[in-house]
């Protein structure tokens, strides 16, 4: 590299940031942090500052965009491709996008917490804009024309005289191997032609026509099929098993045993299933009573010690409450319940472990698998391949660990591990049970004077990082223990996510009771504690509104100063046709709820109409109207799809779902024992109204709807029946018991 090239690039990159070209990082993701004296780079550029960690342009002009985030069915590939194409001024279809792969992409941690557009979208947008400016400057240098006389158009820089230099021609040498600047010359949203449009999802055609779209669909030459035989309950210990007959079964290649970890490997998939059944029947285990008595969540959580922290203390002694009410709300353990059970493919050859997985975090999985197998991390490559819908920390990482452990035992052939339905339902980490206790008082004018919320919860993350997060490592002879659980710090929070009210109450106290002991295996479920906290807060707002004799929408607006929050509330109420004191047909009711996810991501307000069958007690959501502000919108149809899905998934959690167990085993093992939403109960209509905020940051939206949907439905049930239900799920039996018919 010549000194003059450095000077050229230094000239084109304005600002004070150092321009560092490093060839040592070529081919590997650059993970350097910005020097302390430099302003923070936007989004994930802060952790991977080199432009060519995000965007590479080949000499033939082909452009590849790299993201460390993964497609989970939320449409992130399409949205990120829109962002890159927009800022690069190239057609949407001309780009190739590579997603999470420890060999190719930046370490963006987990695809979780509605962070993908904020982290990766922001990084790609800024990187693409800076690449465009570098290309303009390089073209200006070569053409001897001022950059302002040039424009980026369709993969080339074009001058007034119609001279064109393609991106491929311009990008020779190491033009893009430079660190990003903290600020970028972003396009004016008014000029967008790709962002803000409902571009069709790139992943859908293959999914609709039987293409190889999922890790479940992978076929590698020589691939074998494995099934695990899990212990029958959490603490069970392997005693003995006569495997001689199983090893002779048709197609069986190997029975793998490593401590309490048992698996069978066969040539064909159904042979592995038959061998799994035989092995499960032959294996003897010592089980122990380890689960709490299933009853109400309160007694389970109240029996466990907690670490308590006050996370909000706001005091205004001049405002005194006159009338006080209290209420306790609970939610049970919930399953992710992906329709396709977890699956992974792994191959161990020449000392290198490669794992294809639908994990949310390829780098944390690499660390966990390397640690489990005593391999250096460089000897493990983890590649994301789509699986069935994710909704949080389900069995994906465990299946990856299973595949890796089996693949190493076999050494050589690729091994595909597919969990069975019962394994998914009993071994995935559940969304933790939670309890909230609220107490509030109204002043003489019927405004909230004092607000108290206490929340009890386990951790909401036991994700990889260490090997102890993987079932295979826990069950293997190494018996790696899970790491001690930790709360997720605020402002995002875990059990206390959204526990701090967004409303302006003069006196407010919020206490987080973090429960370390986990009788059931738990971890992240979509929206973490926000689902229950928003359900509680927004139910209690209605209870206080009723005490005040106020309309629920007016009551919320009376206590909310956040303008964008007020806008979504007004939009949802208006579009729903919300009228104060409106009466519906018998057994119908309306409900309203609002939240800003994590108090820092997208805003969402939902109005619902519910019908309650007085004979069965069952509630049905007739219609829902949502209003959402997710900042600058990248793909309006993708955003609408996320909100529709959030409402219906939350409807299912809220009305039906509950992980069941006896004193030893999980007993909700399939869709009969863990019922979820079915078409006969699906809403007649869902309307989603989007409030676009051009020029504003992206606000994560994948989890903003769950809490408001739950509370809106609960409030509508209370409105329809006159009875307030505080214990989730709001089943027909519970409603029937409450209304007493």
């Amino acid at each position: 590299m010549s000194a003059s090239l450095i000077l050229d690039r230094r000239r084109v990159l304005t600002g004070t940031g150092a321009l560092i070209a490093s060839f040592s990082l070529r081919g590997t993701p650059a993970q350097e942090r910005a020097p302390a004296d430099q302003p923070k780079r936007p989004g994930s550029l802060a952790i991977a500052p080199y432009l060519d960690s995000w965007i590479r342009i080949d000499a033939d002009g082909s452009i590849t965009v790299f993201t460390g985030k993964a497609e989970l069915g939320q449409g992130i590939k399409t949205a990120l491709q829109q962002i890159a194409a927009e800022e690069l001024n190239v057609p949407f279809e001309s780009l190739k996008l590579v997603t999470a792969d420890t060999k190719l992409t930046a370490n963006e941690g987990f695809t979780a917490g509605s962070h993908s557009l904020q982290d990766s979208g922001t990084a790609i947008r800024n990187a693409a804009a800076q690449v465009r400016e570098l290309l303009l400057a390089e073209a200006a240098r070569r053409l001897g024309a001022p950059a302002e006389h040039l424009k980026a158009d369709d993969g080339a820089i074009v001058g007034f005289d119609d001279r064109r230099l393609s991106y491929g021609e311009l990008v020779a040498s190491d033009l893009l191997h430079v660190q990003a600047q903290p600020t970028s010359k972003l396009k004016d949203p008014a000029s967008f032609t790709i962002m803000g449009r409902p571009v069709r999802r790139v992943d859908i055609p293959a999914k609709m026509t039987g293409g190889a779209a999922y890790v479940q669909d992978m076929r590698i030459p020589g691939m074998l099929h494995a099934r695990v035989v899990r212990p029958p309950s959490y603490g069970a210990r392997f005693v003995e098993c006569d495997v001689s007959a199983i090893e002779k079964m048709p197609g069986v290649v190997r029975v793998v045993r490593d401590g309490n970890f048992l698996a069978v490997v066969a040539k064909k998939e159904f042979q592995s299933i038959k061998a799994m059944d035989a092995l499960a029947a032959a294996a003897h285990w010592n089980e122990s009573v380890s689960l709490p008595k299933q009853g109400d969540v309160r007694s389970i959580l109240a029996a466990l010690p907690s670490q308590d922290s006050r996370i909000l203390e706001r005091s205004n002694p001049s405002v005194r409450g006159q009338r006080t009410i209290e209420a306790t709300y609970t939610r049970p353990y919930l399953s992710h319940g992906s329709i396709g059970p977890s699956c992974a493919v792994a191959q161990f050859s020449d000392g290198m472990m490669t794992v294809w997985t639908h994990t949310q975090g390829v780098y944390p999985d690499r660390q966990a698998i390397a640690e489990m197998l005593d391999l250096p991390q460089q000897s493990v490559r983890v590649i994301h391949v789509e699986g069935s819908g994710c909704y949080g920390h389900n069995g994906a990482d465990d299946a990856a660990g299973d595949a890796a452990l089996i693949a190493r035992a076999l050494s050589g052939p690729p091994v595909r591990v597919q969990w069975m339905r019962g394994q998914e339902q009993t071994w995935e980490p559940f969304g933790p049970a939670m309890m909230t206790r609220l107490k509030g008082s109204l002043d003489a004018e019927g405004r909230i004077a004092d607000w108290n919320l206490e929340v009890w919860s386990n951790t909401h993350t036991m994700r990889p990082g260490g090997a102890g997060a993987l079932l295979a490592a826990q069950h293997s002879a190494k018996a790696v223990a899970p790491p001690p659980p930790r709360p997720i710090p605020l402002p995002e929070g875990g059990g206390d996510r959204n526990a701090i009210p967004i409303y302006a109450f003069p006196n407010a106290n919020v206490v987080h009771h973090f429960i370390a002991e986990m009788p059931l295996r738990v971890s992240a479920l979509r929206s973490l504690g926000a689902y229950h906290n928003v359900f509680s807060i927004e139910s209690f707002m209605d209870e206080l509104a009723a005490l005040a004799g106020a309309d629920p929408v007016e009551f919320r607006l009376m206590h909310l100063q956040d303008e964008r929050g007020r806008d979504v509330i007004e939009k949802a109420a208006d579009a729903f046709g919300w009228k104060k004191g409106q009466t519906f047909a018998a057994n119908h009711g309306q409900g309203f709820a609002f939240a800003r996810y994590k108090n820092l991501a997208a805003y969402c307000a939902i109005a619902s109409e519910v019908e309650v069958n007085r004979g069965t007690g069952r509630a049905r959501l007739m219609r829902a109207v949502a209003a959402v502000d997710a900042g600058q919108i990248v793909n309006p149809d993708g955003l609408t799809n996320q909100i529709e899905g959030a409402i219906l998934q939350s409807l299912s959690w809220t009305l039906y779902e509950n992980v069941t167990f006896d004193d030893t085993r999980i007993t909700s093992v399939d869709w009969q024992s863990y019922p979820i939403l079915r078409f006969d109960a699906v809403t007649d209509s869902i309307e989603v109204h989007l409030i676009d905020r051009p020029g504003q940051p992206f606000l994560g939206s994948g989890e903003t709807g769950q809490g408001p949907a739950a509370a809106s439905i609960a409030n509508a049930i209370a409105n329809a029946t006159g009875k307030r239900l505080r214990e989730l799920p709001l089943t027909g039996k519970r409603i029937k018991d409450a209304i007493g018919t």
Partner: protein, 165 residues
């Protein structure tokens, strides 16, 4: 050896006759669309059409489909040349993760062959046992209605839906 026709092509399958059709389709014939969801006949992800009727391939042994005409989603069209129901689902963007969708489409296809203009209630009833976890139901319902509008009489006359590969 068991013989059956899949998407208009004859196959001789060397597998245990009790093998569920799902594994024959995925493992022996290397088709992707029929999905393993529960293996218990509870979710619908594995649905294919056998002799014009929607069946759950995860609980249908190979033995029972000997000599029969099996149609999978691959038989309805390709990404470049999608069939009416595939076009309808693409146009409605009726998927999130999409894992349950092939089964939904096959059930809907069988319905539309029987009843070219179903009501919303008939579609809901027909899809009653199919589970979607992402909450894409509204789009799925719209897509089935749209497919009914897109289909010509030839598309819905039974026995002709499998395009010759």
């Amino acid at each position: 050896m068991t013989s059956l026709s899949v998407n208009g092509r004859d196959h001789q399958i060397d597998a245990d006759p009790e093998t569920p059709l799902l594994y024959v389709l995925r493992d022996d014939i290397e088709l992707n669309a029929a999905k393993f969801g529960c293996g218990l006949g509870q979710c619908g992800a594995c649905t294919v059409i056998v002799d014009g009727k929607a069946v759950l391939s995860c609980v249908t042994p190979l033995l029972l489909v000997e000599g029969k005409q099996v149609i999978t989603l691959e038989g309805l069209g390709t990404a470049a040349d999608p069939g009416p129901i595939q076009r309808a689902f693409m146009e409605e963007q009726a998927a999130q993760c999409g894992y349950c969708i092939p089964g939904m489409m096959m059930r809907a296809q069988a319905l539309l062959q029987r009843n070219p203009k179903p009501t919303d209630e008939q579609i809901r009833t027909e899809l009653g046992m199919h589970l979607c976890r992402c909450g894409t139901h509204m789009r799925i319902l719209r897509a089935v209605h749209r497919a009914a509008g897109l289909m010509s009489p030839a598309d819905t006359s039974s026995g002709t839906i499998g395009r010759k590969p």
